[in-house]
Symmetry: C2
Subunit: 246 residues, 2 copies
């Protein structure tokens, strides 16, 4: 399993992914699920993947090799796409390419299914930062001010705090805290989501990442806010009014 | 969908269920999912169900009609079972009875599957209070001091706070608060879980319910702690240390 979260906010983007993959509980490994393509001053493109690791690695391979998009004559790559919509098309095309190769066996009765989903975020010079959620059929939706975040993978444990605290105008530093708290709830409740985390922070119009940090057990800031959050929740719970009728 | 939660604590039992059922998002109804069998001074038996409503209503029908358990000559009902283990067997037998009738069509390729799960809690004179989780195959597991709670239905949104705050020695009033907070997180994140709630509180050796309360939008206590919890979470989040590296 996996948990990845992307936020598209007034001041930029925050994305975080875990790094655990498992094929059965006795075959657990660490693979980074965050991919970055960057041409400083021109474009920063971020991709986080959930689902079958063999599919996502193949998708990244075909993205890097280049694929011909509808209406184009030449293959596109993350270096040549003209906007983030084309980047989402490129990922969708890569997913369909992998599906042509592996889909029928994976979707057979004894297969594990053709499972992949992606978060695509970033900015290409000339447009605002954008965030897309791409499905296993290769189609996609885009985040708006009303729905400023997308999750993929094991999404439920970390969703309640997002629904309470996230809005489009949240400052990026606060969004980083919120992303880590959402991840913490997931790490605690699902063993198949694991450290280290990949955290990226992108400020609007910077056209280069402000931060790309690997966060493991020894990260002092993550440890601090995990402890603070845990004790705050316990205190908040203890401070609730007692039932009047029990 | 449904969310039901049962806790087996040092001082007794707390169970809560929502009451929304849906067959498609344009066919939403209210059905209570908490069933109580009580002979004051002798037994209090509580059943909460999740899954296909047609199955759970049929299960309750067969429980009330009585079924012959392995090793018995006469049909058993909730009035005659000698202990909670037999009550769990009775529910399992009722589930298998319904499966014989409806299972093959529900499990056919175009069917919705044979989905039911149950929480059984209560006490019968002569033994301690017990809590069981019963699966759609009719088999079951029992809660212990180490794992003092079970959930069925839409379990994930409301689980993180349980994992942080619930222990076997939590006072019953505190457990009621915790159950309502866990339910609140679920209500906010999944539209198919809805008010009113059925809340029951049972004190060890009372052999009659201490509380059976229907909680809807107008319940002043539930409204109060929802607001308190929401503002506490926002304050706790705001009080977290800001990232040192962003």
């Amino acid at each position: 399993m996996t948990y990845c979260l992307g936020m598209r906010l007034r001041d930029g983007l925050v994305m975080v992914s875990d790094s655990r993959t498992n094929a059965g509980i006795d075959h657990i490994s660490t693979f980074r699920k965050m991919h970055v393509w960057e041409e400083p001053g021109d474009r920063t493109i971020l991709l986080a993947t959930a689902g079958n690791l063999a599919i996502s690695q193949s998708v990244v391979h075909f993205i890097n090799e280049g694929l011909v998009l509808p209406g184009h004559d030449e293959p596109s790559t993350m270096k040549t796409v003209r906007n983030l919509f084309e980047a989402a098309q490129l990922i969708g095309e890569a997913i369909r390419t992998v599906h042509k190769i592996d889909g029928s066996r994976l979707e057979a009765k004894d297969g594990s299914g053709f499972n992949i989903s992606c978060l695509l975020g970033g900015q290409i010079k000339g447009e605002a930062p954008r965030l897309f959620l791409i499905y296993s059929a290769g189609n996609f939706i885009e985040a708006t001010d009303d729905t400023p975040y997308f999750q993929i993978g094991e999404t439920k444990y970390g969703k309640p705090i997002l629904d309470r605290a996230l809005s489009h105008d949240l400052a990026l530093e606060q969004a980083v805290k919120l992303a880590l708290i959402s991840m913490d709830s997931t790490l605690r409740s699902n063993l198949s989501v694991g450290l280290p985390l990949d955290l990226v922070l992108y400020r609007t119009d910077a056209l280069t990442l402000a931060l790309h940090r690997k966060i493991d057990e020894t990260d002092p800031y993550f440890s601090t806010i995990r402890q603070q959050w845990s004790s705050s929740l316990k205190n908040a719970f203890a401070a609730l009014s007692d039932p009047v009728w029990s």
